[in-house]
Symmetry: C2
DNA sequence: ATGTCTTTGTGAACGCGTGCACAAAGATGG
DNA sequence: CCATCTTTGTGCACGCGTTCACAAAGACAT
């Protein structure tokens, strides 16, 4: 789950189911670890355990890529690393721009995982003129005015939005107009994009809320027959909280 | 998708499908925005558009919560905000600990979306003694030694892991042993947890890789009949790259 | 060669999630 | 009070994803 929505052809892209694509990076990570330990081959069972999935699922996933295993033996680690990397497009260089260099944007710029898989930070962009020129993670921040030029010059096709919610759609529109066709959105907003543009979102607040739901459920099961039964709040009654902290719908730190 | 794996009862928790639970925060956000604009009611069509989903899906989602709409009119915004909040468990206070105060941990601590929905940062914890006492987002960082005491004293049931990958499992074990039953994991590792503990993961690198896959596919379609056809790499042949950047499996900045 | 043993690759069944399309419910106007 | 119009709530069908279970494939020993 996470595609930003709006159009979604969703269905399998060139035979490979979306759910499988989402797991390939997981397998790749486990395989890379094995590769570093110079392990030559792994069985589906072992690899599945390392990736935290079911072995049947893993085998079916790999079957979409082709027959890369050897029966009775398992999979060749190096070979599989290469095949998955290629399938994911990681054998080429992906320049990425990060827009919105606040706390989160800076953290992303410093994130080692970016560089390690062919994702090169082409530019850091912020709307604040004060930020311009200031180096973050060794890269000087550039002003939003430069956005189109950077994207065009470097052939950037992936953009990361780490701005406050209010600025996200506007930034998104500019990215798309400039030629970006894949967006990773950290701002808590639904982005509208034209057909052909992929959006994936990461929302910390949403993840926590989902955890809270399950947490509440766990707690509620023990309490079973308690006086804590919902007080059947009268309809139309205004909820108790909501007042204090103004409650902006979850504004980004930016 | 995102549940950390391992056990997964996965199926619907008390009648509410997992997919629906994952969308409730989305609806809540849209509803809160409407509430701030003092909009009294919304139709499923309008709200669905604001949340970026299909209206039939939204109605079905709400039907799991009960019949909260009025035919011919729509849904009462305030009432729905309250019902969803209650369902998600947001009417109560959720103390949260963040472990690993590096770039990302600090960004999370500063993240406004945490506080705005009943999630209170109970403590920031880091293994580095140098960090101890240093205030981040107005909260003094505490040493890992204090972890168990904090969790016990404050009744913390939700933990956020923002440590490097190598430390994540260890931190996870301690959190769980101390009583935490829900974990939001930002470290690029598969966490093993006992039955009854929920794990959700957020992995920036994985999201980018998924985007890269689709991006490559888009690019490949235009090139259709090019000489760029996969050169049918000889089996067992060592992949070309892999050498340069040491390629740590995506270590956290932390 | 032949047999045994391991592990892959997949056919088939099942279940969850999605979306259509419509009947029921209520609002609103005459 | 009846007719009309809007919007909800849901029965139903379809498709994707998961899992089981097993036949086919290869390694390895004899």
């Amino acid at each position: 789950m996470a595609t930003g929505r709006t159009h979604r052809p969703a269905t399998r892209s060139r035979g490979i189911p979306e759910a499988t694509v989402a797991r390939l990076p997981l397998y790749l990570r486990a395989l890379t670890a094995l590769s570093e330990r110079s392990v030559p081959t792994v069985s589906s069972e072992e690899l599945a355990a390392a990736a935290g999935v079911n072995s049947a699922k893993l085998r079916k996933d790999f079957s979409y890529l082709g027959s890369y295993g050897t029966r009775g033996v398992g999979y060749d680690v190096e070979y599989l690393v290469y095949q998955i990397s290629r399938e994911l497009g990681l054998t080429q260089d992906w320049p990425v721009v990060i827009v919105g260099i606040g706390n989160l944007g800076a953290a992303l710029a410093n994130y080692g995982g970016f560089a390690s898989r062919g994702f090169r930070v082409a530019a850091l962009i912020d709307a604040d003129p004060q930020m311009a020129g200031k180096p973050v993670a060794g890269i000087p921040v550039q002003h939003t005015d430069e956005l189109e030029k950077i994207i065009d010059d470097d052939g950037v096709s992936i953009g990361v939005i780490a701005t406050p919610a209010g600025a996200a759609q506007q930034v998104c529109d500019r990215l798309v107009a400039a030629g970006v066709t894949s967006i990773l959105n950290f701002a808590p907003t639904v982005l509208n994009v034209p057909e052909g543009v992929d959006v994936r979102k990461v929302d910390l607040s949403i993840e926590l809320q989902i955890l809270a739901f399950h947490e509440q459920r766990k707690a509620g099961e023990e309490a079973a027959a308690d006086g804590v039964v919902p007080p059947a709040v009268a309809r139309k009654q205004r909820p108790t909280d909501q007042g204090p902290d103004g409650d902006v719908p979850a504004v980004m730190p930016a």
